[in-house]
Symmetry: C2
Subunit: 154 residues, 2 copies
DNA sequence: CTTAAACCGTACCAAATTCGTACGGTTTCA
DNA sequence: TGAAACCGTACGAATTTGGTACGGTTTAAG
């Protein structure tokens, strides 16, 4: 299915909400209520984002979380990294130099690795700000996409 | 981690081997030995690929599997589809019109959906042939991907 | 016509991962 | 001093993944 995990999806949803008023300080409880997500889950996610330095936390009463940087400077790739670790389509990519036991018989890993790189760069190019802006439904760039891919190949 | 599952990786490895002599008929046992993969697993994968009409099977003694189409006409997207079902980065994308319960409060799902489409098209642009050629020169379908994701989202 | 090589299909199991919960602690403001 | 908020670890149920088992069917060769 090639999917990101659910917490990552939640994380982007929460962050995109925070991006609308970037200087506000949001409590976990408020975010949870606003997004209709279970409070403990929201807390857990927020803590992970703090550890990854995408958010800063303010302790004590009237505390909460706020963005560590402007929304334009937080990429979706960074969010994925924070929640689920480095982007690695295959086991062998993650292994790094400790090559997989089959690498001697495997012609494809370098090609997967390349696809992986492209995905990574693509996700780095999408910021939280892009993500939080509620799309213009008829977007001209998207319509021509199919053809552009096709013609790029031959 | 954003990963494809292991069987899909195996599948591409097996298929790329078959693509080198496309008209040959390969037995599951031979492929398993050649790739150093457990035989039952290879069988299981091959059967899934037959069901998805990427391979044809020949029963009986001297039977085996061969590519249903030229390697140029089998995309990596098709392989992923065969093994793990449709490409769907998030739950909500898979759900289709039966929208997720949070969709009313969720600003990001349409943006994920758009990224999903771009990935899908990109993977459709990479053929088994590309994949089986070790260290293919810059693949044009991939090169421009980053830009495309970017322009699809804003 | 018999045998063996090969595919077919279902069902099962163990291990890993995911998703979410629980709970006791710490910091800060009012 | 107390309430509001964050902090951290640890746990557990449910699902998914990766792989096995086994009995059946088809076909070529001898
Ligand atoms: S399976 Fe590890 S290198 Fe391809
Ligand atoms: S979480 Fe379902 S629409 Fe975003």
């Amino acid at each position: 299915m090639l999917r990101i995990n659910r917490e990552t999806d939640y994380a982007t949803a929460i962050l995109s909400l925070m991006a609308q008023e970037p200087d506000e300080c949001y409590s976990a409880a408020w975010l949870s209520a606003r997004r209709c997500l279970p409070a403990p889950v929201v807390s857990k996610i927020l803590k992970q984002l703090v550890r990854a330095q995408l958010l800063v936390s303010h302790r004590g009463a009237k505390g909460g979380y706020s963005l560590a940087r402007p929304a334009e400077e937080i990429s979706i790739a960074a969010v994925i990294n924070a929640i689920e670790g480095p982007i690695a389509l295959t086991d062998c990519i993650e292994g790094g130099n400790s090559a997989c036991q089959y690498s001697a018989h495997c012609a494809v890993s370098s090609n997967w690795s390349r696809i992986n790189d492209v995905f990574q760069h693509a996700l780095e190019a999408v910021s939280l700000k892009d993500m939080s802006e509620p799309l213009a439904a008829e977007h001209p760039g998207l319509r021509a996409l199919g053809e552009r891919v096709r013609s790029a190949v031959n």
